[in-house]
Structures are given as C-alpha cells and as structure tokens.
Subunit: 148 residues, 3 copies
C-alpha cells in the first residue's frame, strides 16, 4: 500500500472506486511532470445554505477530493508519485445568500495537506456557481506535479 | 493544407476567420511547449434550457471550438503543431433548471477527438454560469501542448 | 526598488500590504518556471450593474491585481522576476442584466501591460459569477512565468 493510502487509512478513510467520466473526456491528462485532473462533482446535491448545510458541503468537498485521488491513482498507478499539489479550483453551488465558498473548499484542501504535508499546500480559487452538473453542491479540478 | 484542416473538410466543416480579442488580451500565450488559449464565447446567445435548446447549445460548443482552433492557427501557423489537448474548460449559461453541462461541452470535445484522435482526448471541466459575456450560451478556454 | 515598482510609482500607484489567504491555501505555488497565483477577491462588494457601477468594478479589478502582485512579491521577492504573464482568469459578480465582463477585467489586464509591456500581454477568460466569496464584485487568479 502506498504511503498516502496508509495515511488515509489512519484517518479512517479509504479511496472509493475510481469513477469514469460522465461524458467524452479523460480523468486526467499529462504534460511533462504536470497532470491536469478533470472536474468532478460531489454526490451531494443542492444549493449550499438553503438546501445543503455548510458543514455537509465541506464534507462533500473532502469526499469529492477522494474521488479525484482515486481517479489519479487509476491513471498513474500510485498516489505517492504526486510530488506537489499545484492548483485547486473549486466551485460551490451557492444560494444567493452564501458567501463563504473558501471555507467549504477547505474540506478538500485540508485533506491534501493531511496526506502530503508541505507538498500538499497549494494555490487555490474558490468560486460560487449558479448551477453545476446534476445539481451537485461541489465541483473540483486541479493540477498536480508528478514524478515522470 | 494541414492534416487537421483536411480532416475538418472531410467532416464538411471549415475554420472560420480568426476573431480578434474583444478586449485587452491575446488570443493565445505560449510558455515552453504549453499554449494557453483565451476564453471565447459562442455567437449563439441565451440561457440553455429556457432560451436555447440543449441540441443547439452542443452545436454552439462545437462552433466555439472552431473559433478557438482558428485563433490558434492564426497564432502558431499550423494546427498540426498541436501534439496534445491538455485541458478544456467550458462554461454553459444555464437556466436554473439545467444540469447537463457535460453533454453540451461534448460538442467541443468530440470535435477535438475527431481531429486529433487519442492526442485529442483531454482533461475537462464543465460548469454552469449565471451570466457570460454578451449573454452568450457557451464559453470555452483551453491549454494545449505544441511542438516548439 | 524593482523596475516594476518604479513603474507603479510613476503611475501614482503602490503595492498594498500582501494579504494572507482567507482559508487553508497558499498565495502562490511554483512548478519549474511557472507560478500559480491563488484567487483573490476585491474589497469592493456587490453585483456589478445593480449594486456596483461598471466603472467602479473596472477600478476594483485593477486594485485586485495590485493585491495579486503584492502576494507574488511576498512569495518570490522581486516582481522583476516575472518574465511573462501567461493566463488571467477573472470572475465578475454579475447582475442578470450584466454582459460586459471583458471590459471590467480590462482593469487588471491594462495594469499588467502598463507594467510589463509585451511580456504583460496574456491569454485571458472573463466569466460571470452568481456569487463570489464575501459578496465581492471581482475575483482574479493567474499563471505567470518567472525566472528560476
């Protein structure tokens, strides 16, 4: 088992099965030592603040990151090959009233830092969205550095 | 004629004239073998589901990709220089009711795969937007790998 | 003083203090000669067109770019190390009626071009958002090339 998956198990978490793309695209695409990871949406649905609580949305962000990691593992074989998390982009399906997108996306960022330490710290943008695929609450994509 | 433009012609399609940026930015910017392509919006206007059908929006996504390719050709001279499509980002101007953004952006992805085969397969994120420039239905930007 | 800060001073502008991230992420993350800069939102709040004028929003875009530059300087030491602005992404908190996002983000782009000349010209995407962190009017992130 990889170092990262051991750390996950110690947190009481595990990688879910890697989901396949919902349309005509790849889970990840590599260029040199950079890996572009496609957007995935959360299983949790609904607008944050009115239909989904901030607490549940933050957990959904963590779980969506687990999906991204499972997809990366399926594509590159071992999560220990990730040497740096470069950029995370998060969209939060936001009710008009909701203005705390960064605190929601922290659910994903904190998992990355717990698993990768300093290398897991990353640049990030958290934005509100009026509508996400399937009415999901969260959408995440990222760019990571891997050993070639 | 380039291999890619020959493939386009065989599909009954052709590159439109390369549009110039609507404001103070470039159509593309290069860094090493990576080319960042600016966002372009569709000529088709209106919210998908209430003002524009999903079918028309998917076609608009394909046509917007033709605009991106025309701009790339104007900047790098020959579309055969693209060696890999890395990341496509698509925004769909979505009515509250509309949750199938991935199927719309497939209009652009399928064109790239038809033209570039395996190299045309890419990482992607499809997101809903409440408002796009000029009220357009679709906005696309991407990162591609080119021969230097 | 760096060449870029001298140019800023000649424009009657100055770098603000570098703001720290509002949640668990970094201001910037480097990979080779590429620097990913996290999203920052404007101090100016409200939806453009109904709560904030286009003129004020364009100024807010310029001021948010000053924040990004201050954060980059804090991380890499000297703004003259930026050799090329690659990609700028801007979100405008838009009233339903507002469709001129590119003209707002020009406030940021024009500053970059004034400071860096040809190297400051960049690929860009300007998108509408239904909601941004803290109800801000503008959100900007970018990727720049730096000397290593």
């Amino acid at each position: 088992m990889s170092r990262v998956e051991t750390a996950l198990a110690e947190m009481g978490l595990a990688l879910p099965p890697a989901k396949t793309p919902v349309a005509n695209y790849l889970g990840t695409k590599q260029c040199g030592n950079m890996l572009f990871v496609s957007g995935r949406v959360s299983v949790v649905r609904g607008k944050v603040d009115t239909e989904v609580s901030a607490e549940d949305a933050k957990l959904a962000a963590r779980d969506t990151m687990l999906d991204l990691l499972a997809i990366i593992k399926a594509d590159i074989g071992n999560l220990d090959r990730i040497t740096s998390i470069l950029k995370l982009r998060g969209f939060v399906n936001s009710a008009e009233s909701f203005k705390s997108q960064p605190q929601i996306i922290d659910g994903a960022s904190e998992l990355l830092i717990a698993l990768y330490g300093e290398a897991g710290r990353h640049a990030r943008t958290a934005t509100g969205a009026a509508q996400l695929p399937y009415g999901a609450s969260i959408q995440l994509d990222m760019v990571v550095e891997i050993t070639s």
